[in-house]
Structure formats: C-alpha cells, structure tokens
C-alpha cells in the first residue's frame, strides 16, 4: 500500500486497504458510505461494501481504526461543531456579537458572555472589525439556522483549548481550508503528526525565529491564519509578513517538506530577517 489509492464516487474500497485492527469497530470518515446488499445473490460474497461518495485519496488511520476520503482541499468552509475558527465581529447587540466566519455565509452569533471569566461588567468590549478565536458551538438545523460560537468551554468556564478569545494585534492571512486543517494537525505538537500533515514550515520558522522573539499563531478551520510577532520589536511587521508569505506560498504551490525548508530560508533572507 505504498501508492495512494484514489477513489471516485461509486468505487468500492478494496478490503486489503482497510485497517486490520482486529475487533475494534471501523470508523467511517467523510466521503464514504456503507452499502448493504438489497437483493442477495448467491454470487456475492459479502453482504456489505464500502463505497466512496466523493473523489479523493483513501486515508486510513490504523491506530484509530478509521478510514476516510481526503477530497479536494480547497473547499468552502461549512461550520461544524467543535471547529476552531477565526471570526471577525461585524456588529453587536445587547446579548450577542454578530461575527463573520466566511464572507458568503450569514453571520454567526457569539454570546457577549461566552468568554473566559466574563460577567456583565467584565465582558470584552469588541467593536466591528475585531477578531476572535472561537469554537463552533452548534450549527442549528434546517434552513436559516444560526451558527453559534463560543470562546469558552461552557462546562468548565475556561477558554479551552487555550488561546480562545479576542485576538489583538497581528495579521490574518487567507489560506485554503485544506491547509488550515493540516496546520491545525501540525501545530498540535508531536513530530510524528507533522509527518502526517507533511508540514515542516512551522517547525522551521520556529527554529529560525527563536532568537528574534518567536511568534504566535492561531489557525481557524475557516481558512484563516492569524500571526503575531509583537515580541520581535522593530522587526514585528516584517516578520509577520514573512510568515504569512511562507504559509500562503506553501498552500498555493503544494510544496513538499524539502521545498518548504528552502522557501523559509529564501523568504527570510529576502526580507532581511536575521536567523
């Protein structure tokens, strides 16, 4: 199973590609569905088959015993509960901030009190154009349903995972939703997972910019990445732009790890940022 398997809708998933993790139930990810035999014929061996419903690469995860289809990476973002997004406040009412997740979708609501430690007195005063890093709480049902966001875990009252809340300073760059998903996976530690996502850029940047004061990054599933280098003093803006350039270029040209390293070196040299 060295070469990746590309499936089209209606194609069956060959059984030898499935993770063989014994007893644990197989988890089906997006792009796949299980079909049962409607009219059993003696010829057919199995009663069930797995078929693809989207075109993409078959991706298997032996550890979690999961299988899914990786389809086109450049999709419009559709809010799903628990996604982390970067939203922009559009306007506010007494109870809610109305935020923009993507320009083409209706506004999402963010409760004035859904921030860590927020009370009527201490709630953040956000104005139109301000950015928040938030989690999708619910997407509602049916047409016209509102997407609800929160910057706090309602059960614990903490901003979990860390970093949720207003984003001050920095800059936002647009990337593809596929890239955003990869960045999230890559940034959530562990070298092994970075291998999975095929991204070394953050590591590389982190190493090279350590001396210059490092940087902060937040990735939203809605195809936005926020970068801030306020620690690097006079180079702050230049470094921020350099990081943004690296990320968007890698996204556009689908660079592999080797090229990513080369790119980082080149961009930093061009922007005259010492490493």
């Amino acid at each position: 199973m060295s070469s990746p398997l590309i499936l089209l809708p209606g194609d069956e998933v060959p059984t030898d590609y499935l993770p063989s993790n014994g007893s644990a139930p197989l988890r089906l990810g997006p792009g796949l569905r299980l079909l049962s035999q409607a009219h059993p014929t003696p010829a057919s061996t199995s009663k069930h088959v797995l078929t693809a419903t989207q075109a993409g690469i078959l991706s298997t995860d032996n550890k979690r015993n999961a299988v899914s289809i990786l389809s086109s990476s450049n999709r419009r973002y559709i809010p799903t509960p628990n996604d982390l997004v970067i939203a922009q406040v559009h306007h506010s009412s007494v109870d809610y901030f109305y935020c923009m997740i993507t320009p083409q979708s209706p506004h999402a609501v963010l409760g004035q009190l859904s921030f860590e430690g927020a009370t009527k007195k201490t709630r953040p005063m956000l104005r139109g154009g301000d950015l928040v890093y938030a989690r999708v709480l619910s997407t509602g049902l049916g047409a016209g349903a509102e997407v609800e966001l929160a910057c706090v875990n309602l059960a614990t009252g903490k901003s979990e995972p860390g970093g949720l809340g207003p984003l001050n300073g920095g800059m936002v760059f647009d990337i593809s939703t596929g890239m955003a998903a990869r960045l999230i996976r890559a940034s959530s530690a562990s070298a092994e997972q970075q291998q999975v996502a095929g991204l070394v850029v953050l590591d590389e940047l982190g190493k090279k910019l350590e001396k210059a004061g490092g940087f902060e990054i937040a990735v939203g599933r809605n195809g936005k990445v926020w970068v801030d280098c306020s620690n690097s003093e006079d180079h702050a803006v230049r470094t921020t732009v350099a990081i943004g350039r690296c990320l968007t270029t890698i996204d556009e040209h689908n660079l592999n790890p080797t090229d990513q390293r080369k790119l980082v070196t080149r961009v930093l040299r061009e922007m005259k940022i010492e490493s």
Partner: protein, 411 residues
Amino acid sequence: MASSAAVSTAPPALSLPPSQFARLQPHAYLLAHLSPPASSQQPSIRANGRAPSQFRVTSTNTGSLTHTNGSSVVRLGDTTAVCGIKAEILHTEDIASWSVSHSSSSSTPNKRRKLTNPTEKPGEDRQDGSDEVEDDDSYIEDFSLLVPNLSLSTGCAPGFIPGAPPSALAQSLSHRVLSLLHSSRLVRSEDLEIWYQRPNLGPEELERHNEDEQMDVDVEQDGSGSVGETREIKAFWVLYIDIMIISLAGNPFDAAWTAVLAALRDTKLPRAWWHADNETVICSDLVSEARRLSLRGLPVASSFRVFEADAASGWRAVIVPDAEEERKIAESDRKGIQRRWVLADPDGYEEGLAQERVCLVIDKDQRQNGKVVIVKMEKNGGFAVDRKELKELVAVSAQRWEEINKILGQC
C-alpha cells in the same frame, strides 16, 4: 416516511378509507395495487384500474373551433389538450436573411439538408434535383415557419399560476413539440410556400400552374428547370400552433402532441397567390380551393414512467447492482417478486411517484409494410430501463400507434 413499514402491512385491514390512504401513503398505495399478495390471485393492476401497459381512453375531435385553420380537442383520460392552428403570411421581403441567392430563379436553395431515406446513399442526393426539392425543409427551420406554444396557465391544475409566464415545464414541452416537428419533418416546406409566376404566361395558365403546384405535392417538380426562370417564392405560410392544456392529469406531452397531430391533419390553407399590382398576397376564400397539408407520416408519442417498489432506496443505502448484475436480477424477477413496473401513459398521481421516464415517438412506414421507424427515443432519470426494456416498449408503442391511427382516422 414509514413507507417501507407500510409495504408489508398495506393490503389487509385498512382503517383508513382508500382515498385517504392514497394521499397519506401514495407509494405504498400504488405498490399494494401493483403487487397483490400471491394468495389473492389478483392480477397486478394500477391504482387507476389500468394494466401497466394500458393507455387511457383517448378521444379526439377536430375542426370545432371557428377561427382556426385547423383545430383539435384531445382527451387522454382526464388530461385535455386543445390545439388551434392559425396560419399567417410571411412575405419574403420581411425576411432579413432572404438574400439574393434565395430570390433568384433557382428553386433549389443550396442549403444543408437532412436525409431521412435510409436507403439513399450519401452524396447521391446532390445530383438529383427533384428529390432534393421534396426533401428540403430547411425553410421551415430557418424562417421559423412553425410556431408551437403550449400553455399551462389555464387553471389546468393547482400550482400553475394563471397569468404567470410559462413555467419551466410549459417551456420544455413547447420546445419538445417544436423540436419534434423539426426532426420528424412532419410538415412539408413546399406546402407552406407561396409562389409567384411572372406573367409571361397567361393569367389562366398561371392559375392552373399554381394549382398543380399546390395540389399535387407528389408530382416531381421537374418543370422547375424550364419555367424556373420566372418563378419565385414570394411568401410563406407561418403556422401558429397553440396548445392549451385545459385539464392536466398527467402525461401532457402525449396529449399535446396528439392534439398537434390531429390539428395539423385538420388544417386547411386557402389558395394564395401574389398580387403583383397590390404587392401583396391574396387568398381565395373558397373552401373548394383550399387544400390540406400533406403530412409526412404519423409519428405517435407514447410516454412511460418507471415505478420502483423500493421507495426507500434513497434512504437506505443499498448496493446499486451494476448493469451486468442487474440483468441477472431481472431474470430472477420473473419467478419471484417484481421490483419495478413500467407504467404506460402515467396519470398525475403516478408521475409524482416515479422518477424515471421514457418517451418514444414512432411511426410506421406505409411504403415498407408498416415497418416501425423510431423518430425519437428519450429515457432519463433512472437505471431500470435498459436495452431489453426499451425493446419491449418499442413494441408497446407500435401497438399504441395502431390505436391512435384508428382514432385519428375516425375524425
């Protein structure tokens, strides 16, 4: 929708009256009719009491509308179509593209043409002038001589707002009628041409010639070579074919097409000639001088829908057997339970329950012992009908042709 659950319990012990059941569980209701329990010894019959390949009672009436050149009323069960044809005159001087080449003496415009006669070799037609004249109908398409329009905004069924512009369905039906009129080449271009003979012949002769020209369409126009110098087309008849669907209970296309067919057969065009002094076309109002159109054949339309037993297929994820397996399953169906039914001439209720549609337009070639000629074959929206099924449907449509031929012959 618990229709799959209702399937098993459908036939016995209904607490609802049938009309209510039909509304609440339409799919199960029709299925229960089509697949009676084996023990009951009942034949498979549709909810409307027809056998699967049975068409509704069809009746036509022609010539009852006073202000038309030809008219018809066709009733296909509860679907009623009224078709009226009004002929108007298009002067060649009003045609922007009527170029010098057209108005010159040549009566055989050098235009593209379709060959229908399958025995004819390609390339041969180019030399044979007389055949060409008979076969060339490009005028009809090029100058829009046939103008069919179908209207559903007559209150024919709830859901069509009266006075609103034609719905997508009405537009689609209008287009299908026009495209079938073109592709079946039902109307002959020469029937619509109004000629002018320059008066180097005596006026009586002109009269006579015109008559010959227009009355005898089958006469080969060999004369066009010799007298061609002085003859030219001055105008065309344009047929405005308007179809009003007065009542819609399924299968509007068959009703509309039959109405068009009947109205065209009823259509009489007055004798018309070019009046050089007035520079206009004058018609004779004598019925004895008017002539009927000589139509090419009698293409008859038959529509079908496929009803599938498994309405839940959209819900339940089942393996869709590929085409090869499909055939094997179909074989086994003969013995066991039937899964799908091809319903001829669907009514409105059935149309709502069956997605897959087939429409066949066939004619019988009278010159070749009534050999079946398919003029149009449309199939869309499903997997059930394949080669074998289409072959059977052609046979059903051929029977329907006989029926319609008889019905139209009577009026």
